[in-house]
Symmetry: C2
Subunit: 492 residues, 2 copies
C-alpha cells in the first residue's frame, strides 16, 4: 500500500503522451499535493502550500495598497439566506455541501458550507452601512470554500479549495465599475509580475458571467496543451445583492439608496496554471518570485573531500539565505546526479553546484532550470549574480509564456476553419461574433469552445495583433455584423 | 432594526457592574467582531481580524525558524477515521458538525467538519513517512475549525474559530518531548513579547490533558476578573495516534517502529485574552506590537486654519507610515473630543494631537492610551520618539499584567481558605496537591476551580514566589503528602 515516491522521481509521463497524466505526475511527484481520503479533496503539501503563501504574499499587499482590509466571515450560510438570492444561488445548488447535524442534534435549518460568501457578507453589510460616510466599504477574505464537484482535478477543480474573495460597496455605479476594473488590473499585474503568466484581461459574455452580476471581468491564460484557464474574475455586481439584502445608505441628499457592489477572487487553481504554463517534460518549472525554494545547493564531493566541501556549502547557504530562499541538499543517500534530477523535477529555478575544482577556484556553477544554461560565478560576486540570474529566469518565463500564447492564437473567419484550428492547433481562436447568445451557444455545442472573453481595449496582450487583424470580421457563426472580435477556446 | 453604533461609542458597561457585558461591549463597540446570523458564530471585523493577522505575523516566523513548514489538510474528516481513535474522538463527538448531503445526494458516509486534525494528518503521515530519514516531520496548518458549543462567547468559545495546529513526528520519545516543550516556549515567548501577557507555562493533570495525549503542556494567563484562560497548549502525543494510524518508519537498525508525535495550537481566543488582560472601563487597550493601528492622528483645527492643519497632518501621516501603522482621522462630522473617546475605546496605543499652537511650535502632542500620559514631541525627533513611546506602552502593559497576576495569587493551606479566597479575591490559588485524581475532582465539584497547571520548574513567572512559599505544603484537600504545589483557578 505504501508508495515509495523516491524510486519514481524520474517517471513523469511526457506531455505529448498524456497531458492529463503528466499534470497529475508533476503535481504529486513534485510533492505539491497528495490525494486526501475524501472524494475530490486534496492535501496541500508544504511545497504546494508554499507557493500559495507566496501568491498570498504577492496579492495581499496589493489589496491593502488599494485600500482594502481583511476580515473573516462564517463558513456556514443558512439555507434561507441562499434562497433569498435564488438567481445567484441556483447555479450553486448542485454543488453545495450541507450540514444537517451539530452538537448531537438535527438542525432546524440546514447550513450550507460557503461555496462563495456574497450572501453572508451582504447580510452583514446591511447592518454595517448606514450613510454615505461608510462608503466605500472595501473588504477581502482569505478562506476555504467548498463546491461539490463531480469531476475533480488537483488544484484546478477540487471539492474544497482555498481562495480570496473581495467584496466591496460603493455609492455609485461608476465607482463600482472602477473598482471591478482596478482589481482586474491588480490580478493582471500580479499574475504577470509574480507568476510570469501572460494573461488576457477581458469581459465575460452574458452566458459566462457570474450569476447575479451586472458584468464579469476575467483574466484568461493559455495552458501548454492549448486550453484556456480562467485565472481570476472580478464582478461588477450592480445592485442585485443590495436589493436582495437591503443594503441601503443615506446619501448626502437625504435619500436612502441601494449600494453598488463588486466581488473578485482568485484561488489555488493558480498553482495549476503555474504547472501547466511553465512545466516541461522533466517536471515543474517555478517562477523565482513564487518558488518556495529559489536555489538549491548540491555539493559534489569525493569521499576524501566530503567534510571540506560540505563546510563550504554550508557557508554558502548561510551567506545566501539572508537574501534568497535557499536549501542545501546534503543528503548522503543520493548521488549528485540523482539530486539534479529531483530538483529539476521539482522546478527549483537555479541549481548551485559546488565540487572540488570549484572550491579550489573560489567559484560555484549556476544552472538555470528553465533553459539548462550553466555559468561559473565567483564566490565574491555570488549573492548579486544569483539575484540577476533569478531575475533572468523570471523574465524569460514570462516572455516564453507570452510568445507561446501569441503563436498559439489564430484568427479564423468561418466555422470550418474554427473546427480545423481547434483540432489541429488548439490554442486561442480570435474571431468575429455578432453578440447573439444563440450563435455563442451553438458554437459551444458544436465545438466545446466558449468565448473566453471580449478583450479589454487599450491593453496590450499576446492576442493584440490577432485582434487587430480580426477587426471588422463578420460573426464567425452567422456571418452577421460583428460587434468586436472575441477570444474563443476550449477551457478548464 | 439597524444599530447605530456611533451613538453608543461611550456606553460601555463598567467591569465592576457586569464583567461579561463589559467584555461583549468592548468586543462589539471597538468593532473587533459582530454576531453572525448562525448560532454561536461570529464575524471577525477588520479591526479584530487585523489583530489575528499580527498574531500570525508574530508566530509564523517563529514556527519557521524552528524548522516547521505550513501545509493545508481537508476540512472534512470521514466518520470512520474518527472512530478509529475512539479514545480521542469521544471527547469531540458532542461537538461535531456533520455534513450528510453534498452534490444533491445523501452521502454514503457522514463527514465531520474538523474539530481538530489529528485524524486526517496522521492518516497522511502514514503515507509519507517510510524511513528514519523522513524524520522529524514538522508541519503546521493555519485554518478554521468547528466545535458545536452550547454556550458561546465572542473569541473565547465560538462554533467556528481560527487557529493554527502544529503536528510533528519524531524518532524518539525524547525528541517528541523536546519538541512539545520547545513549542510551549515559542508560545510563552510570543505571548509575552508581542501580546504582553504574563503567562504561566506548566503541565496539565491527567484529568485536564488532551484526549489521547501522553502529556499536555499549557500556557495559562490570568484575566482581569480573576479567572484563568488556557491561552495555548502543546501535547506530547506519545505513540497513541501512530498506533491507531500505523505511522511506522524503518529505523537505522532495520526495525519498523512507530513514530512519536506532538501537536500544539493557539487560536483566536487570544484576542479575548488581549481584551480581558489589558482592557479597562474606557474600552480596549492594545499592545503596540499586535495593534492594527499603532497611532491615530487627530487634527484640532479651528475653521480658518483647517486646510493648513490638515495638510500638516497628512504630511505627518506620510512621514510616520513608513515605520508605523498610523491613521489620520480627518472626519469632518466629529469633534476632536469625540474622536479621542472613540480611539481610546478602540484601544489605539498612542494618540497624536496636532492643533494650531503645536503647528506653530513645530511639535505634536503624544497621548498614551495605557496611562493617559501626555508629552510634547518635536516634529524633527518624532519618528524615533513615537517608537520609544510605543515600546514603553508595550513594556508597561506587560509589567502591569505581570504585577496584577502576582498580586492576584494567593497561597492557601486548607479548603476553607480556598473557598474564601475564591469568593473574595478570585485570582490564582497556589496550594499543595497530593496527585490524587479524586482530590482534584472533589475540589472541582465543590468550588468550580480546576488545576490550571503544574508550573514548569526553572521558569520565572508571576506565581514563582507563591510556589516557593507553598513548597512542601500538604494536599489542600486531603492533607496528604503533596507532590508539588499547583495552580488552581476558575477559568474560561
Amino acid at each position: 500500500m505504501r508508495r515509495v515516491d523516491k524510486e519514481y522521481v524520474r517517471e513523469i509521463t511526457s506531455r505529448a503522451e498524456d497531458y492529463s497524466q503528466w499534470y497529475v505526475d508533476v503535481a504529486t511527484k513534485a510533492q505539491l499535493m497528495d490525494y486526501a481520503p475524501i472524494k475530490g479533496c486534496m492535501v496541500f503539501r508544504p511545497y504546494g502550500y508554499g507557493i500559495w503563501e507566496r501568491i498570498q504574499g504577492a496579492l495581499d499587499p496589493r489589496f491593502k495598497a488599494t485600500g482594502h482590509q481583511n476580515a473573516y466571515f462564517p463558513l456556514f450560510i443558512p439555507e434561507s439566506f441562499l434562497q433569498r438570492e435564488a438567481e445567484h444561488f441556483e447555479g450553486f445548488v448542485p454543488e453545495v455541501a450541507w450540514v444537517t447535524r451539530g452538537g448531537g442534534e438535527d438542525l432546524a435549518e440546514r447550513l450550507a458550507i460557503r461555496p462563495t460568501s456574497e450572501a453572508m457578507i451582504c447580510h452583514m453589510y446591511s447592518r454595517w452601512i448606514q450613510s454615505w460616510r461608510d462608503l466605500p466599504m472595501l473588504l477581502n477574505q482569505w478562506c476555504n470554500v467548498v463546491r461539490w464537484e463531480k469531476a475533480t482535478r488537483p488544484f484546478l477543480r477540487t471539492t474544497e479549495f482555498l481562495w480570496q474573495e473581495g467584496h466591496t460597496c460603493h455609492a455609485s455605479e461608476e465607482e463600482a465599475e472602477e473598482e471591478a476594473l482596478r482589481m482586474l488590473g491588480v490580478y493582471a499585474d500580479c499574475l504577470q509580475e509574480d507568476l510570469a503568466l501572460a494573461v488576457i484581461p477581458g469581459l465575460k459574455t452574458e452566458a459566462e458571467k457570474f450569476a447575479g452580476a451586472l458584468r464579469t471581468y476575467t483574466v484568461e491564460a493559455l495552458m501548454s496543451d492549448g486550453k484556456a484557464l480562467q485565472a481570476g474574475t472580478s464582478h461588477n455586481l450592480g445592485q442585485f445583492f443590495a436589493r436582495v439584502f437591503d443594503i441601503l445608505y443615506l446619501d448626502r441628499d437625504g435619500q436612502q439608496k441601494h449600494v453598488w457592489q463588486t466581488s473578485w477572487g482568485v484561488s489555488t487553481r493558480l498553482i495549476g496554471a503555474l504547472i501547466m504554463v511553465h512545466g516541461d517534460d522533466r517536471g515543474l518549472v517555478l517562477p523565482p518570485r513564487v518558488a518556495p525554494l529559489q536555489a538549491v545547493i548540491v555539493p559534489i564531493a569525493p569521499q576524501r573531500q566530503r567534510e571540506e566541501i560540505l563546510a563550504a556549502a554550508r557557508e554558502l547557504r548561510d551567506t545566501l539565505s539572508g537574501s534568497y530562499r535557499v536549501q542545501l541538499d546534503d543528503r548522503e543517500e543520493h548521488s549528485p546526479g540523482w539530486k539534479f534530477n529531483e530538483w529539476e523535477m521539482r522546478g527549483v529555478p537555479v541549481r548551485i553546484e559546488l565540487g572540488p575544482r570549484d572550491l579550489a577556484a573560489g567559484r560555484v556553477i549556476l544552472v538555470r532550470r528553465d533553459n539548462g544554461e550553466r555559468e561559473e560565478a565567483s564566490n565574491r560576486g555570488l549573492p548579486g549574480r544569483l539575484g540577476e540570474v533569478l531575475d533572468a529566469v523570471q523574465d524569460s518565463l514570462y516572455r516564453r509564456a507570452w510568445a507561446f500564447t501569441e503563436k498559439s492564437t489564430r484568427v479564423v473567419r468561418d466555422m470550418a476553419a474554427f473546427q480545423a484550428t481547434l483540432e489541429q492547433d488548439r490554442g486561442l481562436i480570435v474571431a468575429g461574433w455578432c453578440g447573439d447568445a444563440g450563435c455563442e451557444a451553438r458554437i459551444k455545442g458544436d465545438t466545446a469552445a466558449t468565448i473566453r472573453c471580449l478583450p479589454l481595449d487599450g491593453v496590450v496582450t499576446p492576442v493584440s495583433s490577432a485582434l487587430g487583424e480580426a477587426k471588422g470580421l463578420p460573426c464567425v457563426h452567422c456571418g452577421g455584423r460583428s460587434g468586436r472580435p472575441v477570444v474563443f477556446a476550449r477551457s478548464y
